[in-house]
Symmetry: C2
Subunit: 377 residues, 2 copies
């Protein structure tokens, strides 16, 4: 299964809106075939692995299939993988997790079992979920999985008091951030950042076959038509108001304007997340300023922190996120550690919202596979 | 040498003001004897290892001695180890680093070589220095090695705006902090922390044969005679002013009062560090509030940060250290990473001042061993 997870990870940047899946077909310790999900419209991991086995001249009859997600049971852009595995005559299927897609959701397992193929579920479940938290969240909860990228000093400042922020973290950390942009389906920023830094917010420094959708929260439609972010693929501008003239002008620059007002002149951020999920956005990479960061945290929209720490103390300065004043520590936003690693001269910390993660895990555990028990990780 | 380093580490809390040293005597891959520095007045590591070999019935003639510090060449509280090794007839000595003590400083190596014993220097130098940065700093520069313990949120706050700080980090991190108190020679705090938290600042949760000296920076001698810190071993109170009455009262409570004024009503912190070194203080553990922390950083007195990060965002709050406003990032205090590790629910980050560390390394490299070359690490 570890090798199947590695295969899934190899397509981290290319399968969206489909989940990243890896598949390994094995008999007597010999790998007969392997594969990973191809870009949308292309074959799923199981089919790639079967084709790979055929190309190598291997018969997969009776072999064991290790796959990081339950084989699908529905006709989507491709035929159901569960049927294909049955036809291929495989002997056993081990899947890391069930598919939360309501069109599958245990039916793949049932189809295999009905055909007499034993299926084991839940091996390396947590690692498999970590490859596709956005897909699971979108399918189960109707929201994407959202992480916020921060670059801060050890004392938690993202800029000096005078606004200077280039550069707190080093080149390696900035390049590393592009890996996270690349795996996301959408990069979210605010009009403040666009006005201050005029960023392109594209994936560079990392080879990728696609660019994530760029989304700007711009309540009053202040976006300047010459902003660099309007170059390249079309952007989505989320607004609360804004004149028809400005709307028409930005549409003329290829922007899609979407009004999601919260009734108080701002963008309704939870509604934005639901809307993004409806647009098949699995994972959102937030790269914004203290204002939008604080509003997203304050409205419970952040599932994960991608926090780069530079080994310096800057003293008075601007926070990474503008948060409300607390009078009790028990009210503070708490996360759980996922990772701490050196990246160049800086440290990359990853943390996730424990309750949100547990809810995804429990959602997967609650998918019925009819009369067959689901085994835990 | 790795085993000798482990032996040295085993006496981390007990040798001050002497350095922690480990010694292993080996022949043909067999450990004949091993030892580590005993508390002041007791035998040094080499003597312990020789006695251990004798107790096991081993003859050390021709054996190789691995020792984490150059054997001493002077009569201190104990006779010179270099002579003892010569008399024991050992065949070869491998030492991690030279002894910066001006009474030794290469003379131990020379004595051994003069007796025809080959000596190799510089094996695992950096690890050996990390065991005794304070001893080296005190001997070379006349200052202790000073680390500052911080407990902060991810966004770098040590307390909420209303001052609430109990608890940002968890029980495991707080207990871990006692290991660092235990290895220090002195724990330094400020009158603000004493007044706010009334701490004992003793080593608990960790077995130790000695308590570090507790030192309070109290410019105006505000220390209350009922403060908990005045219980137990005598404390040192560093002041800039203060009436004879208050001085007499605190002396009556066992405090030693030392005036080190900076001429502006505050304590001269660099002078305090020099004075502490004169009192045989090798390592200082700072556990103070934002004011003293900021002043120590601002006056270049901090060599290392021991920074516990809790996985939470608290928003507006008090910084770990009150620093001056910068207008350029290039002016920020920069450190280099030593370690990042999970401690319970928190992360322990250790960082050191790169230039200070390099200066210690270079100081060691510049010790002459006469006509014999010093090998690098």
């Amino acid at each position: 299964m570890q090798q199947a997870l590695v295969l899934a990870e190899s397509v981290l940047y290319s399968t969206t809106p489909n989940p990243r899946v890896g598949c390994l077909i094995v008999r007597d310790g010999l790998i007969l075939g392997q594969g990973a999900t191809q870009p949308p419209g292309g074959p799923h991991a199981e089919v790639c692995a079967l084709r790979d086995a055929a190309a190598r001249g291997h018969d997969v009859a009776g072999a064991t299939v290790y796959v990081t997600l339950e084989p699908c049971s529905h006709f989507g852009r491709t035929p159901p993988c569960a049927d294909t595995l049955v036809q291929a005559g495989v002997g056993r299927v081990v899947a890391a997790m069930l598919d939360p897609n309501p069109q599958v959701a245990g039916r793949g397992v049932r189809r295999l079992r009905e055909a007499g193929i034993p299926v084991e579920i839940g091996v390396c479940l947590e690692q498999a979920l970590a490859l596709n938290p956005g897909f699971v969240s979108r399918m189960r909860d109707g929201t994407p999985w959202v992480w916020m990228k921060i670059a801060a000093s050890l004392d938690g400042r993202s800029a000096l008091e005078n606004g200077v922020s280039q550069w707190i973290t080093g080149e390696a950390a900035r390049a590393d951030g592009h890996h996270w942009r690349a795996r996301s389906c959408a990069i979210l920023t605010g009009i403040g950042t666009v006005e201050a830094d005029n960023p392109a917010l594209t994936v560079r420094h990392v080879p990728t076959v696609r660019q994530p959708r760029r989304v700007i929260v711009d309540a009053q439609l202040r976006l300047h038509p010459d902003a660099r972010i309007l170059n390249g693929d079309d952007v989505w501008v989320i607004t609360a108001a804004g004149s028809p003239e400005r709307r028409a002008m930005l549409e003329g620059r290829g922007a899609r304007i979407v009004a999601l007002p919260d009734g108080q002149g701002r963008v309704d951020l939870p509604a934005l997340m639901r809307w993004l999920a409806q647009q098949d956005i699995n994972e959102v990479h937030v790269e914004a300023g203290a204002g939008l960061n604080g509003a997203l945290l304050g409205s419970g929209c952040i599932d994960e922190l991608l926090w780069y720490v530079a080994p310096m103390l800057v003293g008075p300065g601007l926070p990474a996120a503008r948060l409300a004043v607390l009078d009790q520590l028990s009210l503070a936003d708490r996360f759980e550690w996922m990772e701490h690693a050196r990246v160049g001269d800086d440290l990359r910390l990853r943390l996730r919202h424990a309750a949100r993660w547990q809810s995804l895990m429990q959602g997967l555990a609650s998918i019925p596979t009819q009369d067959c028990a689901v085994e835990g990780d």
